[in-house]
Amino acid sequence: MSALGWGQLQYALSATLLLIGLYGMLVRTNLARKLMAMNVMQVAVIVFFVSLAVRTGGIAPIELERHDPAVADTEVAYANPLPHALMLTAIVVSVSTTGVALALLVRIHRRYGTLDESELLERLRE
């Protein structure tokens, strides 16, 4: 098992973003801040998946043959395109969730005038 070195910096980034996102969602009381932290957390997972796709000496997964006839019949190493496609879906999910959350936030703000969670929970119980 290789130690965590400079070659694994992207995983450290992903872990840091995940923890920042979790911290924001759990500790902050402003609902809009929680939403932003949620986005940060989702980006962390996206970075994780995309880093899985990297291959040593691999180029971006665009077929080189179509654009540069000179490389036909030579072996080209491509990065793995599947995690990229999966993360496209994950980004769309993230955008949709943010859309729904923003609509809910606007509604909460217009009704209660505040976005602070502790205040809202008090007024909810009334």
């Binding site: 179509r66 769309v92 949709s96 859309g99 923003l102 609509a103």
Partner: protein
């Protein structure tokens, strides 16, 4: 955001930008087969152009597409996707097996055209949804009054 900006600079600049954005969206959609791109990205660019106009021209309904039009787009897009997928059922393949569509091309090309059709549906759907999100957030008061 409710009224137009009233600035000739913004108005002219947006008028210049929007056709190029549409062209770029079409390029991204069609080229998604070989290079980064595809349905989602093209849809987002289209939506961005509409939202740009809404920001500059104000929340007057019907700038390029009305809220109702956006809802229709959001529904019709995925329906195109589903229709192509279901059409494959009628030609003997499984769902989404566009290799069986009778387009008269060779196998790989048929699949490519099927994918293009699906991505077109996705583009329309995504553009509609994003414009709808913007409209919902920006025109909340007016919509709430009309819908109750």
């Amino acid at each position: 955001m409710k009224g137009p900006f009233g600035s000739p600079v913004l108005d002219t600049a947006s008028r210049l930008l929007v056709p190029f954005m549409w062209l770029f969206a079409a390029y991204v959609l069609i080229h998604g087969h070989e290079s980064p791109g595809g349905g989602f990205q093209a849809g987002v660019i289209l939506a961005a152009s509409v939202i740009l106009l809404r920001l500059v021209r104000g929340a007057r309904p019907g700038v390029v597409v009305s809220s109702h039009g956006a809802l229709v787009m959001a529904c019709v897009g995925p329906l195109i996707y589903g229709a192509i997928g279901l059409a494959a059922l009628f030609f003997g393949g499984n769902f989404l097996d566009y290799g069986t569509l009778p387009l008269g091309l060779e196998a790989a090309e048929t699949r490519a055209m099927g994918t293009l059709g699906i991505e077109l549906g996705v583009t329309i759907g995504v553009a509609g949804v994003l414009v709808l999100i913007y409209d919902t957030l920006a025109d909340w008061e007016r919509r709430e009054g009309a819908d109750r």
